[in-house]
Symmetry: C2
Subunit: 410 residues, 2 copies
């Protein structure tokens, strides 16, 4: 019997070697490394019987045709990595579906619909200040203005695409017809500790969390740490500390809420001066938009209360938000059945991070399969998913495709 | 009647013009500006009948001899400023005693002891990583190893002194005999808001506060702000915020205690990552060493409790301490009488900041007269003390010298 986990491990080892020098994997979009990854994946896809094309958004498409007039089920993820990232984030979600199609071929299963395995160019957004060009192009939500954005060497996205042999002006023509799109299944490492804690190899995503970010500025008054009495101080850091604590307590006590103050800057930031100003970010995520929005309102109330109690002004501005993208209930159900068939319990959990599926949701129903990763670590050379877990994922993906077949048809 | 306040204002305006270009006053030790200040002060001192010398530590000494065999009462402060500082910090404490001696001469008072008005070279420590060379030389506590310390252009203190025409090897010979030193009176702006709040021009210092500084490092665990559940997080900033709040509460609830977290750094300090590490400084000041030391112990207990509650290691190290320097009770009493004579109530308050008097305490009894400054602001171009308040200070200093006279004698 074929050991799909070991095959997955070998493929990902080959792909991890396609990297800029340095620790871990660095593979940026529209570079020599991207080209080498395309060449490697193209050869492999052809061996599995797929028809390979590269679209003008840089997405590598491996297509297995179905009977005439049937729709297409999309699967895949992104080929790019963060700088000095790991060997699994993104690329594993391209490799495992190819192996699942190999398995179905080995098992003699013929699908009654077409399948396209997609290797998107850029999900991480580390080269250009934008991301998700590939899935947005397919969903028809690509905004051509991003073509003028530059990387840190001054090269525009348009120029980078052209130098890569692509025609950026064709991107709007890539949009697929929703009525032919059956759905999109993305496989990804969890990037969190939940599956490990539950001793499960695989999990099924319920929803991709919505996000909002707030910029908070506390305006205190500085003074000499020795000469300024405690009474009457307007210490911006004391106020900020109260905010950090209160927001953390709110999130800890609220189901389905995560809140983080990740960034904090103190002025003048010297040992013997009372802090004059603190700028901090507050990020709130939830699979439930109502929970997220009421946490945002709660943050405003916390800020008002601290400002009033300590007698100093605090600005809070929502700088970004993105609604939650629920996965398709029917696809979730099928995927849970497939995970159970592959030997798991089929736990359902939200995705705290954004994925290509977030953008594909504008085209068709989405589903996501999470694979356990060691200690929840991601975006780091030590990122790891085991061969056994990946093998189980290949079984689940193949089973998912076969189950969809059973329900497909005219 | 002579308006001593207006005269003080004129002298300080002249002296504030002796500055490097830029906002406010920048007068670093052993520079052309220092030389110009020495020249200005020397002329003025001679007009008042003082004998002027420059010692090898760069201290300008204006001496009014007393009868043979009598001791010397020292007064003065520092001539240097911080970068882009104000026109009062330091130099006002040189100018007002000269005016007080002018007043005594005008009043026909002959003192039964010698007076030396001292203009120390460097109290702020902005050029070399050391300070208080002048008073330490007089007190016999000068450490010759500091002569090898360099400014940021690579010039050693030794070279700077030599280029200024001084002989650094003579510094150890400058030590005065304690038996001939009656005391040291330093006049300085308060650099805090207490006198303004009490509506008093002048205050008498009880003690120069002791200081201790701690370096605290919180070792958390980072992770993706979206994928890491709240439960089980080791958020270094949440732990640090708890420390900031607890230390602030301790100081606010403890008499004679000031505590400040002035500096705080977050790693990796990005919007969507749980903070991995926070480094912060905790500074504790008190006029009472027992209070300061027990606050230091309390900080250690707070740190242990937070570390245990949140389950992450926290390092805390005391990196610096300096004991409190109490002012002389008899000098305090006399100075309070003189302040009352000049029209004030004579409030007594601690000095949160260190001064030249801190070093002179190793030689003789010390006293300090604080002058109200606008909004407690110092080390800033907007630093201000009013002519009226300075006039009142000249009256008080002259009265103090005259009262000491009444008690002096063989």
């Amino acid at each position: 019997m074929t050991d799909w986990g070991t095959l997955a491990e070998q493929r990902l080892r080959d792909l991890s070697a396609i990297s800029e020098p340095g620790p871990g994997v660095t593979r940026r979009p529209f570079t020599a490394e991207h080209r080498a990854a395309i060449d490697y994946l193209s050869d492999w896809m052809r061996q599995v019987g797929l028809t390979v094309t590269l679209d003008d958004a840089g997405t590598l498409v491996g297509r297995l045709d179905g009977p005439d007039g049937t729709g297409t089920l999309y699967t895949g993820s992104h080929q790019d990595s963060v700088r000095e990232g790991g060997a699994y984030d993104g690329i594993m979600g391209v490799a495992l579906p190819i192996l699942a199609l190999e398995k179905l071929r080995e098992d003699g299963v013929h699908l009654p619909f077409a399948v396209e395995v997609l290797a998107f160019a850029d999900e991480e957004g580390i080269r250009f200040p934008t991301a998700l060009i590939g899935p947005r192009a397919l969903a028809g939500t690509f905004d051509a203005r991003v073509l003028d954005l530059k990387d840190n060497t001054g090269v525009t996205l348009r120029t980078a695409l052209e130098r890569f042999g692509l025609q950026p002006d064709n991107i709007p023509t890539l949009a697929r017809a929703p009525e032919t799109a059956i759905g999109f299944l993305e496989t990804h490492i969890e990037q969190g500790p939940v599956l490990e804690a539950e001793n499960e190899a695989l999990g099924v995503v319920s929803t991709i969390c919505g996000i909002e970010r707030h910029q908070v500025t506390v305006y205190g008054r500085t003074g000499h740490a020795g000469t300024l009495p405690m009474q009457g101080r307007k210490d911006a850091l004391v106020a900020a500390a109260t905010l950090v604590t209160a927001l953390n307590r709110l999130a800890s006590e609220t189901v389905d809420l995560r809140a983080t103050v990740g960034e904090l800057h103190v002025e003048p930031n010297v040992v013997n001066a009372v802090p004059r100003e603190v700028r901090l970010t507050a990020e709130i995520r939830s699979p439930d938009d109502t929970v997220r929005e009421s946490a945002g309102h709660a943050l405003h109330r916390i800020v008002s209360k601290v400002a009033e109690t300590l007698g100093l002004p605090i600005d809070v501005t929502r700088t970004y938000f993105q609604i939650a993208e629920p996965c398709d209930p029917e696809m979730i159900k099928t995927l849970c059945d497939s995970v159970r068939e592959a030997g798991g319990r089929g736990p359902v959990l939200p995705s705290g991070a954004t994925h290509d599926a977030s953008a594909m949701a504008a085209l068709c129903p989405i589903a996501m399969l999470f694979v356990r990763c060691r200690e929840g670590v991601s975006h780091d050379p030590s990122e790891h998913a085991s061969a056994a877990d990946m093998g189980q994922a290949v079984e689940a993906i193949a089973d998912f495709l076969a189950r969809r077949s059973a329900r497909a048809g005219p």
